[in-house]
């Protein structure tokens, strides 16, 4: 599992840690059933407060990527496999856009626009 945080980033540290774990799941570095390292170990290695890591784990639990079990810590759910599948689609999409000469920013904006639009119609 690769976790990276940037003190100069605008995003809060807990959100950066959660984003790292999400990216790990998408890259297949963490798989369903894997146990994430103890929050205090990550906190010690990154030099952040343990509550910052716990905050990230809570957010990941709320979105369904991990389950928090007393005594067993944070265990990765099946959602990791979904993220990994999605990663393949995203790679295909990026390759197609690149072949057609579409800039990455334009692709990202388009994906975000459509996803937001879908959310509105669903909600």
């Amino acid at each position: 599992m690769l976790v990276r945080i940037d003190a100069e980033s605008d995003a809060p540290l807990f959100a950066q840690i959660a984003a790292s774990v999400r990216a790990d799941a998408a890259a297949g570095r963490v798989r369903p059933g894997d146990r994430l390292p103890a929050a205090r170990d990550i906190a010690a290695a990154l030099g952040v407060n343990v509550h910052t890591v716990l905050h990230a784990y809570q957010d990941l639990r709320n979105e369904g990527l991990v389950e928090l079990r007393r005594g067993r810590g944070a265990v990765v759910t099946e959602q990791a496999a979904t993220l990994e599948d999605l990663q393949h689609h995203i790679h295909d999409l990026v390759a197609q856009a690149r072949a057609a000469g579409l800039p990455p920013d334009a692709l990202a904006a388009l994906v975000k626009e459509i996803a937001t639009h879908d959310n509105r119609t669903a909600g």
Partner: protein, 341 residues
């Protein structure tokens, strides 16, 4: 299997290995057993088969068991060595260890066959059961024979270069100066290896319990208990490790806490993802120093591994998945430490 060798003509390394590890023992045991069978009519009905540390005979058995024991040890041990070594050789793995295993198989066979045959012949020549001839001369003779056969078997096999080519360091991960990063991963022995190790430890533990219950010999019971506990400790501490890369360097800790291995970032020259062939490169599995030296390994399985080269040229290798990410992060951290004032 991946190499396209015709089935009827295996490559010379495997052929020579089979020749020294199985062919040679068959010839040696054949001669030894033949000599014993010729001498059997002259030998006493009961012969000494075991000697204590002072060189006095303390174990006896019927004479006819000696040829059987000779065949069992002289062929059995080499067969065991050959069977555990051949799969790797057949896969195309190479290394000095494989050559050494072939020589060891031949030498072990020579040792047991010469020792059994010599002591048998000496007792057949002076059939005084109460005072069997000294063990020291046959013992020394069989050791000399074992060394001679071992050296001959080593040179009878072609040299094997371990597949240990220089691997280029990983491309560093893009890491900003304000960023902190951490890579962690658990690594463990394969389930099969773990089961085999646990079974071996259990077998000795059972032997220890049996020794206590039958109160055969208190010394033996203590010895078995000690060995069982020692093996249990070794097994428990080397079955699984946590591997961690952060801005202090590389840390490999047993899941039980000890042993722990650390390579400080300041000592690291480069990092790479490599493929490890445990037998060929390290002579087996576990926490190891490669026979060629200057390379330390925590080798729990074959395949993907993180390899760190220290500034003094020594290397540390850990078998772990996703080693490419770990190597890329280490490269980035080393690069950043070097450019930082």
């Amino acid at each position: 299997m991946t190499t396209a060798q015709p089935a009827d003509r295996p490559d010379p390394v495997v052929r020579r290995f089979l020749l020294v590890s199985m062919g040679l023992p068959i010839v040696l045991v054949g001669i030894g057993v033949a000599v014993q069978l010729v001498l059997l009519p002259q030998a006493p009905a009961t012969i000494a088969i075991h000697w204590n540390g002072a060189g006095e005979a303390d174990g006896f058995a019927p004479a006819w068991t000696q040829p059987l024991t000779t065949a069992a040890f002289g062929l059995g041990i080499p067969a065991l060595i050959a069977l555990t070594t051949l799969p790797g050789l057949r896969r195309g793995e190479r290394g000095a260890t494989y050559r050494l295993m072939g020589a060891t198989a031949a030498a072990t066979s020579a040792l047991t066959t010469v020792a059994f045959t010599w002591t048998f012949a000496a007792q057949a020549a002076s059939p005084d059961v109460a005072d069997p001839p000294s063990i020291w001369v046959p013992l020394a003779g069989s050791l000399v024979a074992a060394v001679a056969v071992g050296v001959a078997a080593w040179y009878a096999q072609p040299p094997q270069d371990a597949m240990d080519g220089a691997v280029p360091p990983a491309a560093p991960l893009a890491l900003r100066t304000s960023e902190r990063a951490l890579w962690v991963r658990a690594t463990a022995m394969s389930a099969g290896a773990a089961v085999a190790i646990v079974a071996a430890v259990l077998a000795i533990a059972v032997a220890a319990v049996v020794a206590w219950m039958t109160s055969a010999q208190v010394g033996l019971a203590w010895l078995l208990t000690g060995v069982a506990l020692l093996l249990l400790a070794f097994a428990a501490t080397t079955l699984a490790f946590h591997v961690r890369v952060d801005d202090t360097g590389l840390h490999v800790d047993s899941v039980l806490g000890i042993p722990r291995f650390t390579v400080p970032l300041a000592d690291i020259e480069s990092a790479a993802r490599v493929e490890v062939n445990p037998m060929g490169e390290f002579g087996g599995w576990g926490v190891r120093i490669a026979p060629q030296g200057r390379r330390f390994g925590i080798v729990l399985r074959a395949g993907e591994a993180l390899e760190v080269t220290r500034r003094n040229g020594r290397r540390v290798t850990v078998t772990v998945d996703d080693a490419a990410t770990a190597a890329a992060l280490l490269e980035a951290l080393v690069l950043r430490a070097a450019t930082r004032p």
